[in-house]
Amino acid sequence: MDLTLSPSEEEFRDEVRAWLQANNPGPEPEGGLDEVMTFRTEWQRKLHGGGWAGISWPKEYGGRGATQIEQAIFVQEATRQEAPSPANVLGLAMGGPVVIAHGSEEQKQRYLEPILTAEEIWCQGFSEPESGSDLASLKTRAVKDGDEWVVTGQKVWTTFAQYAKWCMLVARTDPDAPKHQGLTYFLMDMEQDGVEAKPLVQITGEGEFNEVFINEARIPDENVVGGVGNGWGVAITTLMNERAGLAFGAIAQIQNSLGRLSRLATEVRTAGGSAADDSYYRQRIAQLHIEAEAMRLGAYRGLTKTMQSGIPGPEGSLGKWQWADLNQGLTELALELEGAYAPLGRGSEHAIDNGAWQYGFLRSRANSIEGGTTDILKNIIAERVLGLPRLR
């Protein structure tokens, strides 16, 4: 058992740290999503220039060829230094890894480089209005027409669809097969007449995600990933990679928030002094720290296992579940600490921390829904980790 970094990993961390200190562009611009995306695109180009995009991807496809530990080190350092997110989050965390795992050599040559440079932004077309948690029931149809597939249907909760060139699309290619077997994974060009993205406004007031209407869109046959009828397996790889890839960034982000929460507690006055002296708040802050540490250590245990087996296991679901609980719990406690000031959000003269906690509280409501609801994660854990029988 060894929780320390090896000398070469420490060297890597120092290199990452120094590079980030010199190149971190600081906070994202205030204003609309367009400005933010432009800012993130520039940042990702800088990352790519420094060799920090696709850290664990093979060198021959433009990656750094680094280990998963080094990938985790980078994400942790970047989050610790509050570096912005790259523009092509979904391409980097899901699209690229899926093409590397299931794609043909031609697909790797074609798609990977523009993901790294943010030249082509990716989005994920999985959920549909009537297929959320029951993803395999999806109805979007793809029908073969010569060398092409003709696709019709509707996708929803499609983050960054309005900026995307490529969509990781799962569609039904065999309506007669059992529901998990009739699916195929495509890369669909978003820039065509048959595809229309309409932004949805979230409870934060932002519009990151979209409805996507697909009406006889065309996808060439060479854009099938992993073979016709294998869409379910490929989609699961995408989700497992998403959970594993985001874990270490999520942990560092929780640690940042816990630091801010502790500072908030020392600043908030209560009748008896500071909230940081109040036993009720002290207990709750301590419990959040303990759970965050359990999650961090659990992620290291998971990483150790992944390095031995090569693939992230279903245990990753525990981490995602916990992350959602923690992020929600700590923003809830922050609002409780703010007391009567809790309603004042961004832009209010008397808002505490410029309303950052109000935004965090609202945004974190999605944490137990996005990327697999907590309820579905519990099903996965019950069935695949504990071996309990399926209800269905």
Binding site: G259, A276, I285, R301, N379, L386, L388, P389
Partner: protein, 374 residues
């Protein structure tokens, strides 16, 4: 970075699992729990023969010289088997002697203890005291070159089978007193956990010679507290693991409304929650055990995190397991109640979850209050 057990540690785990499963079958645990002394002399001898009495004690003094990670591996299995044994109390005294004793005391007390020939147990808390770590009320009255002890200690584990007590006094010292010394009397309490007896021990004018008072003072025992908390948290993790497995097994078997109850989400999600708590307890325990061996400066915080988390999980998981079992889980006949009781008793000893969370709060909030500490 490798956060898993090594092959050697896996071997310790497998040996412990096999030995304890064959030694402590349900009927045997019940016999010991119902017996007058609560002590299984043959079982103790076998554990001693396996080297467990001195597992994490220095080889120089008869121990195995292994680390706290290895100790945590062993205690997780002790909890899993719900082994009724004075191994935990004995381990505490062993750690205290090895960290805080004099060489003469190590020769006379630690060596036989590490070899399993003599058993020691701590007698820390005065009757009516707050019974939190460090708050010791008994006075050590000077008497020539020694001291005299007067008063009653409570919550003393395994007192009936101990050869000597390690008695704490309010000057921060510990005194080694034979259980058959003049003026020592033991009376057993009714602990809910009959697999680990708790007694009160009276010391009526008991004289302690100077060479039996340990040289270390107050805060030097924190190193012992942190390590024993890791072992106890590991034991609670094992308790939770076993209760979880019992629930999962039952949920697969038991049929209601025409299907196994584990197919219903009210039940399966409860089991998922139990897994989460058990795995978190294990992660914090191994994080703290690793810190004890490799990064002692981070041990105090890590140990409190482990003890706080495992204190809760150690009884909540068996509690949830009882709920999954329904009526049968509430019967004396089913073993689950032993696990609930052990978990709850462990939660209370050596600082409850609240006490340890306060220790965590102190560490993290003072960090936040320090200007620009990050």
């Amino acid at each position: 970075m490798y956060f898993d057990l090594t092959d050697e540690q896996q071997a310790i785990k497998a040996t412990a699992r096999d030995f304890l499963a064959s030694r402590f079958k349900s009927e045997r645990i019940r016999e010991i729990a119902a017996s007058g002394s609560g002590f299984d002399a043959d079982g103790w001898q076998q554990m001693a023969d396996l080297g467990w009495a001195g597992l994490a004690l220095p080889e120089e003094w008869g121990g195995q010289g292994l680390g706290i990670v290895d100790l945590a591996v062993l205690f997780e299995e002790m909890g899993y088997a719900l082994a009724p044994s004075p191994l935990f109390s004995n381990t505490i005294v062993g750690l205290a002697l090895s960290i805080c004793g004099s060489d003469d005391q190590r020769e006379r007390y630690l060596r036989p203890l590490a070899e399993g020939a003599r058993r020691g147990t701590p007698a820390l808390w005065g009757a009516g005291s707050t019974a939190i770590p460090g708050a010791y009320t008994m006075e050590a009255k000077p008497d020539g070159d020694g001291v005299v002890l007067d008063g009653e200690k409570v919550l003393v584990m395994d007192a009936g089978s101990a050869d000597f007590f390690m008695v704490a006094t309010n000057d921060g010292h510990r005194h080694l007193v034979a259980s058959d010394a003049d003026g020592v009397s033991v009376s057993e309490e009714e602990s809910i956990d009959t697999t680990r007896r708790l007694s009160s021990v009276r010391f009526d004018g008991v004289r302690v010679a100077a060479e039996d008072t340990m040289p270390a003072e107050g805060h030097e025992y924190e190193a012992v507290l942190n390590r024993l908390c890791v072992a106890l948290a590991a034991e609670s993790t094992g308790v939770a693991q076993r209760a979880l497995e019992m629930a999962v097994e039952y949920a697969k078997d038991r049929q209601q409304f025409g299907r196994p109850i584990g197919a219903y989400q009210a039940v399966s999600h409860r089991c998922a929650q139990m897994l989460l708590e058990t795995e978190n307890a294990r992660s914090t325990v191994y994080g703290a055990a690793w810190a004890a061996d490799a990064e002692p400066e981070s041990l105090p915080l890590a140990a409190s995190m482990a003890k706080a988390y495992a204190s809760d999980a150690g009884w909540r998981v068996p509690d949830a397991s009882i709920q999954v079992h329904g009526g049968i889980g509430f019967t004396w006949e089913h073993d689950l109640h032993f696990f609930l009781k052990r978990g709850r008793a462990n939660a209370a000893l050596f600082g409850d979850a609240k006490w340890h969370r306060e220790r965590v709060a102190e560490a993290v909030l003072s960090r936040a209050a320090a200007p620009a500490a990050a």
